[in-house]
């Protein structure tokens, strides 16, 4: 025993090196397995891989796509939308949770050549905040095989600066290290899939037409709080940013350069925003987006008032009936603007 203690007191550089090497080996092992583990881990952003695969699949030839966040997932049924467009063209709902227009932009380079129309949703506040690419979402895309082409990198870099460019140009090694979020969320995602059967994870992940149908309305007692949390900024107006103006013009240009039409839809808002923010605020939002449409020569669909209060299940998302209302509204606007894709 004493001998062991004496040995411990000696400087043992070799032992330290052995241990450091073993730790590095452990890190290397994790690095090597990270891609495989990422694929297997239940992830919130699994839908990303479904979308990328659909866009790369030559047997699926959509005439139009709809992009946006969970409002679009719960609010647009592309089967119904196609029915309302002459010729019943195939359309895909490529919305994902939290997908802002910059996240959507990343998909533009992968859109099929024969696609004719991109319907891009945006919330008004996106035009005012500093959000560009969310690193975790981009990491999911990267890990599922997406690689931004030079045009995407240069144009987004020009608009949003070095920070955004750095996210797009992260090395393979860095992306693998960043992908650990999926492992860290595994337990949550797994347990959630057990206790939240109402969320219909299968549909939510794999459905390319109406991924978030049947959302339940939250109790009235919680609605007021949800509205306060969601719309407390609205009352003070939005200072729209120059970079977001440049971005929307660029988004339209990117789509139109590849021979497709581009329609920007201002997402539906809960009618209580009228009382919370006032009519002046609505005028400012419209002025901003219609100004952009004139500069960028693209169509804007104003859906802010398209859905009545009873069709909101919470402050933001729509019920199935609400989805029907919004889809019909968008179809009508597409027809009015002569943007109907051919089947």
């Amino acid at each position: 025993m004493r001998m062991i203690e004496d040995n411990e007191k000696q400087f043992n550089g070799l032992a330290c090196l052995w241990m450091a090497a073993a730790i590095l080996f452990g890190v290397g092992l994790a690095l090597t397995l990270s891609g495989w583990i990422f694929e297997k881990a239940p992830s919130d952003l699994r839908r990303t891989s479904v979308l990328l695969e659909a866009l790369a699949d030559p047997s699926i030839q959509p005439s139009y796509v709809v992009l946006g966040n969970s409002v679009v997932m719960s609010g647009i049924d592309t089967r119904l939308l196609s029915e309302r467009i002459p010729g019943n063209p195939l359309g895909l709902n490529l919305a994902t949770t939290g997908q802002n227009p910059v996240d959507s932009y990343l998909y533009y380079q992968n859109l099929p050549d024969d696609l004719q129309l991109v319907v891009q949703f945006t919330l008004p506040r996106f035009a005012a905040n500093r959000d560009s690419i969310e690193p975790q979402k981009f990491n999911a895309m990267y890990m599922y095989g997406y690689r931004p082409d030079p045009t995407t990198q240069i144009r987004l870099g020009d608009i949003f600066g070095d920070e955004t460019l750095a996210i797009l140009q992260r090395s393979e090694l860095r992306q693998r290290f960043e992908s650990r979020w999926a492992i860290q969320q595994t337990a949550d995602n797994f347990v959630r899939s057990l206790v939240r059967k109402d969320l219909k994870f299968e549909t939510y992940t794999f459905d390319l037409y109406f991924p978030n149908s049947g959302a339940k309305r939250i109790p009235e007692s919680q609605m007021e709080r949800a509205l306060n949390m969601r719309y407390n900024v609205s009352a003070h107006g939005y200072p729209y940013t120059a970079e977001k103006s440049a971005f929307f013009v660029e988004a339209a240009r990117r789509v139109k350069d590849s021979g497709k039409d581009f329609a920007l839809v201002i997402s539906p808002l809960h009618p209580s925003v009228h009382q919370r923010s006032g009519e002046q605020w609505y005028s400012e939002v419209r002025e901003f987006f219609y100004g952009l449409s004139r500069n960028g020569n693209f169509a804007v669909i104003d859906a802010m008032d398209a859905v009545p209060e009873e069709h909101f299940v919470d402050a933001l998302h729509l019920s199935e009936a609400g989805a029907k209302v919004l889809t019909e509204f968008v179809a009508k606007e597409i027809r009015r603007l002569n943007l109907e894709p051919e089947s």
Binding site: G13, A15, A22, G26, V27
Partner: protein
Amino acid sequence: MLFYTVEFLMFSIILMGGLGIVHRTEPRKLMLLVASYIFYMWWNPAFILLIVFSTLVNYLIGGRMALEDDQSRRKALLVLSLIANLGLLFFFKYYGLFSDSLLGLMRIFGSEPSWTSLNITLPVGISFYTFQTMSYTIDVYRREIPATRAPLDFALFVAFFPQLVAGPIVRAATFLPQLTKPVRISCDQKTVFLILRGFAKKVLVADNIGILVDGVFTNPGAWPSAIIWLATIGFAIQIYCDFSGYSDIAIGIARILGFEFPQNFNHPYIARNPSDFWKRWHISLSSWLRDYLYISLGGNRGGSFSTYRNLMLTMLLGGLWHGASWNFLLWGFLHGAILILHRVFTQGRNTPGQTNLLTQVGSVILMQYCVLITWISFRLTDFPDMLIAMQKFVVFDFNFQLTKLGLGSLSFFTTLIIMLAFVLLQAFSIRVGHIDQYLGKTGKIPAVIACIAIGFVAFFFWPLQQAPFIYFQF
């Protein structure tokens, strides 16, 4: 410069390289002093002047005190040292709180002062090195240690980088004698595992749990009691792992550089009573407060009332030591009250060691319940939020909104798994002594397997958002 950054890795490599070239003790000490100053200046170069000032004042006063036989002059020198040390601490740490409180009070009484509060940047680690230097002058005054005649040794004692910014508070009586011996670099399996234990506690446990804790305590009113309980237990684990993790790394690095520091934590969450808790939690501070404050106030030598008063004063000042905020004062008050209540109820009774297992377990649960309540006051600086959280913690609402769990980015279940892993590892650690010592004694193959596992887990559970050590702010 945080211990788990590339900067610190480079710093360590350069320092070890330098120490490898220089073999004589005095140049090695000088090198350690320069390295310590660079380490500190990484945060704010200007504040090195405070350390130099504190070093000079205490070195000179200590030296002068050693030459004085006249007790009244010795006392005057001690008072001078205390004024200098506490003056710096008060100005940088407490001036803002007192001026803000005074301004608030004046406004309540209708007066609108013409002056405004200063916005003073808190020098990192000031509470730690101030208490270290005070221990030196007080010990010299009490003739418990001789004044050092080596300015380099004293400067290194004040600024030694491993424990400079967040402890443990190493007393002169512990550190200075070690500087009279040759400085030897030593590294063994046990030390490496001690450092790895510290990193794992901080990076893998504290930082990951902190995401949930921050998310819940940002708006405690929005959560049911079960989640407040989860977040409070989470914070108890977070602060323990954050702080004791730093101590482990500091003690390990100091050991590699040839210095032995005292243990700062010893499984505090199995403490059976408040007295036991303070022998296990932040031992270097609690023993400092006991030896230099509680005993100086009279300790338990007077009657019951003076003992209670001394306990309360000691804990209030212990609370204020953490920061210039009323919630820390409340935290100290609650611990003072718990200590007093414990003393009231146990006077003349058997010691807990003589009781049966059930009573012991009950004592641990009761003590930790009290500790958890105090952590709420420590964590929440906003008073209304603190009261809401405490109310939800004490009066359980039996509202289990499982449907809300797992949504958002707070990672409830991952956090639960990390907390469970922490509890199991603690149980194992208690059973085998300490994990680092257990692994330090194993053979090469188990050690290598443990290191591979640590590297593997660290890759996947390295936090997405890193946070500085909580105790840096103190």
